[in-house]
Amino acid sequence: MEPGIYHLLFISTALFFIGVFGFFTRRNLITMLMSIELILNSVNLNFIAFNKYVWPGKMDGLFFSIFIIAIAAAEAAVAIAIIINLYRSHQSINVETAEDLKF
């Protein structure tokens, strides 16, 4: 069976909610970062799917995906830098130990 747009949208939605679930439930910062990557990739999948099936002659979706991949890479670099710094100061990458910035 040739996969259609619905299949792709189903996968991307599933990825999105898996990411959101992971972001809310995991306490490990690296895992949370991975969940964010899942969310971003679900968006990528959406762009690709709409580009291919709705406006096949255009390239906008592809370019957006490439942008998002680049931004995701940069964001991962920044996030990992923050996580390393947090580890240095708190000896842990558990998000519950990083509650100093509150009221």
Partner: protein, 650 residues
């Protein structure tokens, strides 16, 4: 034509004196300060007399009418076209007459102070204050503009404040200067509103313009001004009443007179200059200056002026009969005499024979300035001699102070209205004017002039006769060392005594009248019998009671106990004011406002603070520091916004 420079220099020389001595007096000019002040004042007085001569005899009269000249007029502040404040010099009969009075009395006081204030540590400051006062008074007299007048009016108040409080280490002097300032300032508030009302009605601050706008019967301004009314009184009458309140405050008219007796805390020459001869007549001058408006546009207010004047005159005279501080007696006598001037204005009409009261009032102002200054300076010499203000410390001084005695006697005869001294003529005209206009006022005034003679001679006999001092009276031997005070103190007394003796012969009606035309002052021999007789009766009673020390005064005051106590305590007017301020204003209004401030205004401010604090306490838990909680807020919010955008705002 008037010489602008000369006239300008009359007020400016005292001002130079003020600046020079005020800035450099304490450090560089301590020795020469009195001389500098007196010389500058002498020059100013000389110029004033020259100006007066030229005005009255050379250029002032065109035809039979004295002209109102404005040799200098500078625009100072412009609010709107036609509505501007000018600074200028006004030369007309009354201002020229006042120039003479102010500069002459001021010169006498400068001269007298050379002796009286000798050895005082702050004499340079004293002379600079005298200069400031003379400058402001001359500026007030010469004002062309009612607002200019107001500015100088306040300056006069300030210099009076400074001079009353000259002995600033004496608590009573400090209290007196504050009282004087606050009471007159309170009255000046009325003056200010009156000025604004007049300016609004007449469309100008300029005195001649204002007068012509508000007095010619066909002017639009007058019709509009009469048209506006507030509680049944027209705007123009309100303006006149308010302006009169200002004048009454400065001139110590009942019930705003309470500051004047206390003002006697100042040095005695200051009392002579400010609180007897010049500043206190500013109110009379103000009413005289705006007389056409009062007389033509607001005759009812002029009636009030008359009644306030006569009531002040009689109340002050009664109080003066019971006081024992000689300066206070003189202060009440001043108030009484100013009351005479006020009611003389009140019984006058604009123009012609009916304007007799106007001429009489200013005539009395003129003669009163001379003999009252003399009385104060004489009292100053006595105080200088015995170091006390109280009558009981005096007596039998005629042998120790012969010159002072003679001069004081002349002044007493003048104020009591004994012919041919100055007060006789002016008081005669006032009584005549009152006789023709209002009999009730006339009889009260006649009674008052009897009282005047009584209390003045009570003062005279108590100081110079009464008990005789024996040789072993050590205090007096101590006093006798510095004698009467040298020629600088005696010369002003003698000059003023000559003035008091002859000033009555000035044909005053030839110079000053309500419409600036020549008015022959009427003189009826028959009419003057009653005032002179009543004056002599007063003198005789004083002679019996006080010439030698006896128990008559004590017996009589015991018989009139209630009345005597009432008058001795000045009719409890001071106490009434205290009651009003303390009980009514402080307790009733002040406490209520304080309560509102603390319980309502403060509560509102506090509530705003408390609400903000409670609210932030309530929502601060949102800022938990938990990243995932923030994620949930974000996610929920996005979902809510999306739902709203899709389903609600669709």
């Amino acid at each position: 034509m008037p010489n602008v420079l000369n006239i300008l220099l009359i007020p400016l020389l005292p001002f130079v004196n003020f600046l020079l001595l005020g800035l450099f007096g304490k450090t560089y000019l301590k020795k020469s300060a009195p001389i500098i002040g007196t010389v500058l004042m002498l020059a100013s007085a000389f110029l004033a007399f020259q100006t007066a001569y030229e005005y009255f005899f050379v250029y002032g009269k065109v035809g039979e009418v004295y002209q109102q000249l404005m040799p200098l007029k500078l625009t100072w502040l412009v609010f709107a076209p036609g509505m501007q404040i000018d600074m200028g010099l006004m030369i007309d009969p009354i201002s020229v007459m006042m120039l003479i009075v102010v500069t002459f009395i001021s010169l006498m006081v400068h001269l007298y102070s050379l002796g009286y204030m000798k050895g005082d540590g702050r004499i340079a400051t004293y002379y600079s204050f005298l200069g400031l006062f003379t400058f402001s008074m001359l500026g007030l007299v010469l004002a062309t503009n009612i607002f200019q007048m107001y500015i100088f009016w306040e300056l006069v108040g300030v210099s009076s404040f400074l001079l009353i409080g000259y002995y600033y280490d004496k608590p009573s002097a400090v209290a007196a200067c504050k009282k004087a300032f606050i009471v007159t300032r309170f009255a000046d508030f009325g003056f200010l509103i009156g000025i604004l009302t007049f300016a609004y009605c007449g469309g100008s601050f300029d005195i001649p313009t204002l007068i012509s706008a508000l007095t010619s019967p066909d002017s639009n301004e007058l019709k509009t001004a009469i048209g506006y009314s507030f509680v049944g009184v027209s705007a123009i009458s309100w303006g006149a009443i308010l302006i009169f309140i200002g004048g009454a405050g400065k001139s110590a008219m009942f019930p705003l007179h309470i500051w004047l007796p206390d003002a006697m805390e100042g040095p005695t020459p200051v009392s002579a200059l400010i609180h007897a001869a010049t500043m206190v007549v500013a109110g009379v001058y103000l009413v005289a200056r705006l007389f056409p408006i009062f007389s033509i546009a607001a005759p009812a207010v002029l009636e009030i002026v008359g009644w306030v004047g006569v009531i002040s005159a009689v109340i002050a005279a009664i109080i003066a009969c019971t006081q024992t501080d000689i300066k206070r007696v003189l202060a009440y006598s001043t108030m009484s005499q100013i009351g005479f001037m006020m009611f003389a204005l009140g019984v006058a009409k604009y123009g012609g024979e009916a304007g007799l009261g106007f001429t009489a009032s200013l005539f009395h102002l003129f003669t009163h300035a001379i003999f009252k200054a003399l009385l104060f300076l004489g009292a100053g010499a006595v105080i200088h001699y015995v170091h006390s203000n109280e009558m009981k410390d005096m007596g039998g001084l005629r042998k120790n102070m012969p010159i002072t005695h003679t001069c004081f006697l002349i002044a007493c005869l003048a104020i009591a209205g004994v012919p041919p001294f100055a007060g006789f003529f002016s008081k005669e005209e006032i009584l005549l004017a009152a006789f023709h206009h209002n009999r009730v006022i006339y009889y009260i005034a006649l009674f008052t002039s009897g009282l005047t003679a009584f209390y003045m001679f009570r003062l005279y006999f108590s100081i110079f006769w009464n008990r005789e001092h024996s040789a072993h009276d050590s205090a007096h031997q101590d006093h006798a060392r510095h004698g009467e005070g040298g020629w600088v103190m005696m010369l002003p007394l003698v000059l003023l005594a000559i003035g008091s003796a002859v000033a009555g012969f000035v044909p005053f009606g030839h110079f000053i009248s309500s419409d600036n035309q020549i008015l022959e002052l009427p003189f009826h021999l028959l009419f003057s019998i009653a005032p002179v007789l009543i004056g002599i009766t007063g003198i005789t009673i004083a002679l019996i009671m006080y010439k030698t020390s006896n128990d008559l005064p004590a017996k009589w005051s015991a018989q009139l106990n209630g009345m005597y106590q009432l008058a001795y305590h000045k009719f409890y007017i001071d106490e009434l004011y205290l009651l009003l301020t303390k009980k009514v204003i402080f307790n009733l209004i002040g406490n209520a406002s304080a309560w509102i401030d603390q319980h309502i205004v403060n509560a509102m401010i506090n509530a705003a603070g408390t609400i903000t604090q409670q609210f932030s306490e309530a929502i601060k838990k949102l800022q938990s520091g938990k990243v995932q909680q923030y994620g949930i807020y974000f996610f929920t919010s996005v979902i809510i916004i999306v739902v709203v955008l899709i389903y609600v705002w669709n």
